[in-house]
Each structure stands twice: as C-alpha cells, then as structure tokens.
C-alpha cells in the first residue's frame, strides 16, 4: 500500500467514523461508507489540507471511491 493510500484511509476513518477494515480501495464513499454529499465536500477539503493539493469542484465530483481519491492525489501532488 502506498503512503498516499495510508494517509487517505486515515482521514476517511476519522471523518466518517467507520472501521478501518471497511475502507478498501474499491469502497464507495456514499454506497459503502455511509457518507452524504456534504461529507464528501468535507473529505475533499481534508485531502487538500493534508496533501497541499487543490481539488476543483468538477474534479471533486468525480471522486466517488477511495481509489479515485488516491489516484487524483498521486497525479496532482507536488
């Protein structure tokens, strides 16, 4: 598992209050982890803070799974 994946999963566990083993790379924030649309806004903000990246709204809308987040961050972080 990459370092990015570890840090992403830690943020997801903290923000959504879910068990760590449920946060697989294929897990959907809404369908599998009980998030609503505002939780995703908050998650994206947390990713931006943690990794120093900017995730514009149109990109954020396409982030629906844990893997989507990891991929976007790895492609855009400094």
């Amino acid at each position: 598992m990459s370092e990015t994946a570890d840090r992403v999963k830690k943020i997801v566990v903290e923000h959504l209050g879910v068990e760590a083993d449920k946060v697989t790379e294929d897990a959907s924030f809404i369908d599998d982890l009980g998030a609503d649309s505002l939780d995703i806004v908050e998650l994206v903000m947390a990713f931006e803070e943690e990794f120093g990246v900017e995730i514009p709204d149109d990109a954020a809308e396409k982030i629906t799974t844990v893997k989507d987040a990891i991929t976007y961050i790895d492609e855009h972080k400094a």
Partner: protein, 419 residues
C-alpha cells in the same frame, strides 16, 4: 383540554450526565464549579464556570454512549448534550421503539438560548485566516438551535411537531410549556421537550462578562461564586448541559402503564417590555408569569410547597424575583421552600428551565428540596423565606413552581404536581 404528564427524564449537567447521579450530587450539596479548562481563560475577567466533566471523571459525560462519532465531529457541544439527554428521556419512558402511526404523533421541542457559539467563534477564525473555501460544509447545521430537535427526530423517526424555542434563559421552561400545549391541543401525543446550552468559549465568557452579568470576584474560589440571595453575590457562573423530558398525553400514558412522574398543570408566560438585560424594577413580568401559571393550574397559593427560583446570583435579579414571589404569595410564602440550584450547577442559560423542572419533579418524587449553596449572609430582603441554605431539606412537596427569566424581558413559569 387533554391532560399532559411527564413520563421520561434526561440530564447532562456539571454534576452528572444522568438523572440519578446529578440529583444525588445536588442533594449532597456538591458544586459543579471550577476553573475554566476548555480554553486558556487567563486574560478573561471571569475565569470560572460549571463545565460538564469529561468522560473518566467520577461524574463525567461520555458522548460516545449515545451520539454517533460523525455527528459529534460536525456539531457544537450543545447539540451533543441535547441529543444525549433526549435519548435518556426516551429510554426512561420506554419509547425508543414506536410504531409508524405513533411516530406521526410524536415530535420534539428542544431549544437553546445561544446555540453554537464556540463553533461560530472558531469557524470565524478559519474564515479570517484561511478563506471561505476552508469553512466546513457542516458549519451551519452544526450550530443552528433547532438541530437538537432535528437530529433527535431523525434518529428516532419522529414525524410530529418539529419545534425549537429561542428565548434566552427562559428557553427550557418555554419549551416544556409550549410542547405541553401542543399535546393538550391534540397536535401530538408525545413530545420530547427541553433545552440545552454549551457556550463556554472565549467569546461567550467575554460577552457575558462585558455585559456585567458574570461573577468576577471569586476566580480563586470557584465553588463560592454562585451564591444566590447572599449579600456578596456578584453575578452568575456559566453552566452547560441539557435537560429533556418526555411529555405524553395522560390517557395514553396510563393505558400503556407508563411510569408517570408528574402532570404539567400550569404554564405562564409574559414580557417585561422594559429593558434588554435588566429585569423590570418592580418584577412585573415575573409576577404575571407566575400568576398566570398558578391560575391555569387551579391550585391555591398554599398548595405550592417548592419554588425552583430563577435565582441566578445577580445583585438585581434575585432581589426582584424574591419581591415578586413575596407579593404574589403573601402570607403563603411562610409555608413554602424556595431554592436556586444554580448555586450548584451554574446557569445553564437555554437549558436552565428544563434541567430545573426535572429537579422539581425529583423533589416531588423523593419529598426533599435541594439547597441554595453559599447562602452565608442572606440579603435583608430574604427575611421570613425558607431559601434552603447549604443543605437539602426533607419536607412535604405536593406541588412545585419553576421560574425562568431571560434577556429581552422574557418570562416563563411552570406548575407541576403528581397525578
């Protein structure tokens, strides 16, 4: 009109996070006051408060018991306290699992005086330092006063009246009175009713201190600071927490064999129309609020055995309330006991009227009245009134009156007695 009874109680207070612990500590004469620990208060005029104690403390509050982790992260403390107290009340009433038909007739009226001030304060700093794109998407609905009602009704699927009172320090009493009327008027059969507050933050303490409302002379002796009716009183001590009751239509409660604590028989409300913070100089609003509640109850003055006073420990307010009680009760004042439990738990603002109504109910259950702590040298105006100094007092308690008065000149009084 349909009769309304209390069938469940829930408390989160500086003296305990459940009904029996808080009540036992109150009767034992303990104080919930101490130095402020939530933030560095060293530059404040007032550096003391009655904080809800953390989990692990002998009478601390563990939010993880009843409030989801995610909700805790998103909302201000007053909402967490309110949700927990509401859950306790429903559990106590045995009403956590109601049918869909019952839930259409069940609602909530849980308010607050100030709401999410700590979160407004901290998020303002985020906005200032990091800009609008860093403001939490949960900022608004994590601070709004009606969001205890919102959260609790979602959690339990309650689809009846969805209400939240905002009348400063009268909130808790108005919440119970209004909800009782909704049941009496056939708008609902079951209502969660009460109030909460959690405003112990730099802005909250500074604001009330600047309004000259807080005690500032006892920073080195926090437990001595809240001293209603005492000559040395110099302002209130801020408390926090929540009180919520389950109100239920009497025939329904009787039919299901519910434990019935008390009946809400009188509700009075009035306005001072005088000044934003100072009470009316003749206690006119307080008098009319109490008079209305008593008139509606059908009781005689002599029937009231205990008054839980608003009694915040401010120089002016205590005097005027006592004067209004004296005028209303006349000679009957000699037969009753009147105490201020704010001497022990501080002033819970929007939660006060609900928490204190629960103390009134427990006073009737156990036939004992809680004390007014620190009443070492009563003001001259206190002569001839039993203010229950220092220690709780065993006595007959047939019916009770609870007073709550708030900024803006808003007054509420409740009369209750056993069924």
């Amino acid at each position: 009109m349909r009769r309304v009874v209390v069938t469940g109680l829930g408390l989160v207070t500086p003296l305990g996070a459940d009904v029996e612990t808080a009540w036992a500590n109150l009767i034992a004469g303990k104080s919930g006051a101490g130095p402020i620990t939530r933030f560095d208060a060293s530059n404040q005029k007032c550096r003391i408060a009655c904080e809800v104690k953390p989990a692990g403390h002998e009478f601390g509050f563990d939010p993880n018991k009843r409030v989801d982790h995610k909700v805790q992260r998103q909302v201000d403390p007053f909402i967490v306290y309110g949700i927990d107290a509401a859950c306790q009340a429903l559990e106590d009433a045995g009403l956590t699992e109601m049918s869909e038909a019952e839930r259409y007739r069940a609602g909530a009226s849980i308010g607050a005086g100030i709401g999410g001030l700590p979160g407004i304060e901290s998020e303002s700093i985020v906005l200032h330092e990091k800009g609008p794109s860093r403001v939490s998407p949960h900022f608004v609905h994590g601070r709004l006063i009606n969001l205890i009602t919102g959260q609790v009704t979602i959690k339990y699927g309650l689809m009846g009246p969805n209400h939240a009172v905002v009348t400063a320090c009268s909130t808790g009493a108005h919440s119970i009175g209004d909800a009782a009327r909704m049941i009496a008027m056939d708008d609902a059969d079951v209502m969660l009713a009460g109030g909460a507050e959690g405003a112990i933050c730099p802005l909250g303490i500074a604001g009330f201190a600047q309004a000259r409302a807080l005690s500032t002379a006892f920073n080195d002796q926090p437990e001595k600071a809240s001293r209603p009716y005492d000559k040395d009183r110099d302002g209130f001590v801020m408390g926090e927490g929540a009180g919520v009751v389950v109100l239920e239509e009497y025939e329904r409660a009787k039919a299901r064999g519910a434990k019935i604590y008390a009946e809400v028989i009188g509700y009075g409300l009035s306005g001072d129309a005088y000044h934003v913070t100072a009470p009316h100089p003749e206690g006119s609003g307080a008098y009319r609020s109490m008079e209305m509640a008593l008139r509606k109850s059908g009781l005689a003055l002599e029937d009231i055995d205990y008054i839980n006073a608003h009694g915040t420990s401010t120089p002016l307010g205590d005097e005027l309330e006592l004067g209004a009680v004296r005028r209303l009760f006349g000679d009957a004042i000699g037969g009753l006991s009147m105490s201020s439990t704010k001497s022990a738990i501080g002033h819970l603002l929007g939660g006060a009227g609900a928490v204190e109504s629960i103390f009134c109910i427990l006073a009737m259950r156990d036939q004992i009245v809680p004390p007014t702590l620190n009443l070492d040298n009563p003001s001259d105006s206190c002569a001839g009134v039993d203010l229950v100094p220092h220690t709780a007092k065993k006595r007959q308690v047939r019916a009770v009156l609870n007073n709550s008065f708030g900024f803006g000149g808003t007054n509420a009084s409740l009369v209750m007695k056993p069924v």
